[in-house]
Amino acid sequence: MRETNPSKVFRIVVLAVLTVFTVVPIYVMVTSSMKSLGDVQGAFTWWPTNLTFQPFIDMWSTVPLASYFVNSLIVAGSATILSLVIAVFAAYAVSRYRFKGRSVFTTTVLSTQMFPGVLFLLPLFLIFVNINQAVGIQLVGTRFGLVITYLTFALPFSIWMLAGYFDGIPRDLDEAAMVDGSGAMGALWHVVLPAARPGLIAVAIYSFMTSWGEVLFASVMTTDENRTLAVGLQLYSTQTNVYWNQIMAASLVVSIPVVVAFLLLQRSFVAGLTAGAVK
């Protein structure tokens, strides 16, 4: 199908505007990371007056960046995988079954998104302490506690979105698979999941980024050894100085793996995974 001219113009204008909007702050970040501290604090210049890569070296020692990075990776990665698994099951149930209490479940889960996060903090901390006293599992100050917290934070949205994507996959496909002898789980695994792949990836990205960037609970639930990146970046702002250039440098460096992952994942957003399946 040939693209019409208005379509083309629309595409070019949209892409141009959004590119500028996206790129300018990133450009500022990149050039700031290559300026000396005095330079950064002074009047803004589009290009550094004294180009320097020192911030990229200093940033590893001002703050234990490497250790924070690893912690973040472990916590966010685990939370994402667990969250995805739980959400897939739950979404399948919500999408494919009409059971008693379905609306109670969805309403409750929905209402958790309406409370300011700050209010959860103290009660959650207390619950963890209680669990520790009752069962002996240490949750405060461990990565495990943080993983559990994050996977739950990501659940509501993940369940809805996945249920929404599943809704878009015709039931006929499930039934076809079940007629062939596999149970509901088989239908899920062989038919629904592959068809919902873009949705799965989008939700996985969301889960990961939510855990990756969360600050409030990480600041309270972690100690020196398992501090995450999101909290750690704030530590470049110290009593004596705020090391802007190092913050920028550190942010860019830790984002590179994430961006690379995006680059690889976006290839999976391919059209027509469900098309033709029923014909």
Binding site: L121, L122, V129, S219, V220, T240, N241, V242
Partner: protein, 435 residues
Amino acid sequence: MRKRAIIAGAIAAAVALVAAGCSGSGGSGDSPSGSTITYWASNQGTSLDNDKQVLTPVLNDFTKKTGVKVKLEVIGWNDLQTRIQTAVTSGQGPDVLNIGNTWAASLQATGAFMPFDSAAMKAIGGKDKFVKTALETGGVAGKDVTSVPLYGLAYGLYYNKAMFTAAGVQPPTTWEELVTAAKALTKDGTYGFSLAAGSYTENAHFAFINAAQNGADFFDKDGNPTFTSTGAVDGIKRYLDLMQTDKVVNPANAQYDNGVMAVNDFAKGKVAMILSQNNADSSINANGMKTDAYGVVPFPAPEGGKAVASHVAGINLSIMKNTKNKDAALEFVKYMTSEDTQSTLGKPYATLPVLEGAKANFTDNAEEAATFQKIYNTMSKPLPLVPAEDQFENTVGKAMNDMFSKIATGGTVSASDIKAALQDAQDQVKQSMGG
């Protein structure tokens, strides 16, 4: 009907689950030697790592002397208050911790911190060893304090010697001289003054100091807020007027939400004077200004006003009430407030000693050290020692932020505007005090 019962039951169960974790177990310690105490230190150095490096040899020394091991955690200021809140709420926390001394009365009201009764005071070396005004910050007057001073800080008026000589001005000894000097120095793109006009904590501090110079207090002796006195309004007005009518402060300072930004301006020679606490020295030096290029005088009061140059700033040391290692904790406090430790830590943290008769060593400039010592020991007044102190800082500080903002964006703030804003702040504090 059943549904309601279920919901009520659920809430009760939830509450029980949560509340059971409150007020953790207590218990006194046995012989301190061999035990381990947990210590939460605040960020005083150039980075959390730097704090660890500075403290570790000091702590090792302590372990050698007493056999008590110390588990150290350094916490940034962003998180310290939240961490303390969770520790107080859950009962799970350190044995000893640093607190901003302005929090002392508020924290005392939670009841989670150990009061230093006469036995405890004796165990740490007696209360007379501390600078009197510093010890007063430890809690509400009339009750045993729940914290003791650890590091001392005070505001001083830093001035650029070269700029002053060039303009033919002397360091000011009264407020009026200050304004005149600042005006003479505001020209050709440099300003006489830089203020952290967007930092609500600094604004609250100076509201207090200026009012104190007028003899006015923000709380009366019963702990009721008295924000709208003439002394307070006048004090705030002259501070605001530095930007508004005297025009010796760059309006862009209304964006400065922490003191470091003002210090940077000073170090780069963009302004002639700043008001900063003595630990600004490290920032100033780090930004390229040498120690002999600047001098310090006390923040002056108006002619005839009270000689209050600063509030008693600094860090206090507290022991959690439910600590299992009381004796070890007391030993630790004694050690940290001993003369040797004080002079060891004073230099890297650029703080003043809290001990009566001790000499400041945070800078090689003897004159500066003596000035700050004088300010801290004799010219400083503790911020209101009431549990609502944090609400005072919050409301009054934010009101001043808004007023500076208004001035910077071209509006005007009159004395009646100030009074109205203070009334509003007072109402907020009264309402949240349950009044």
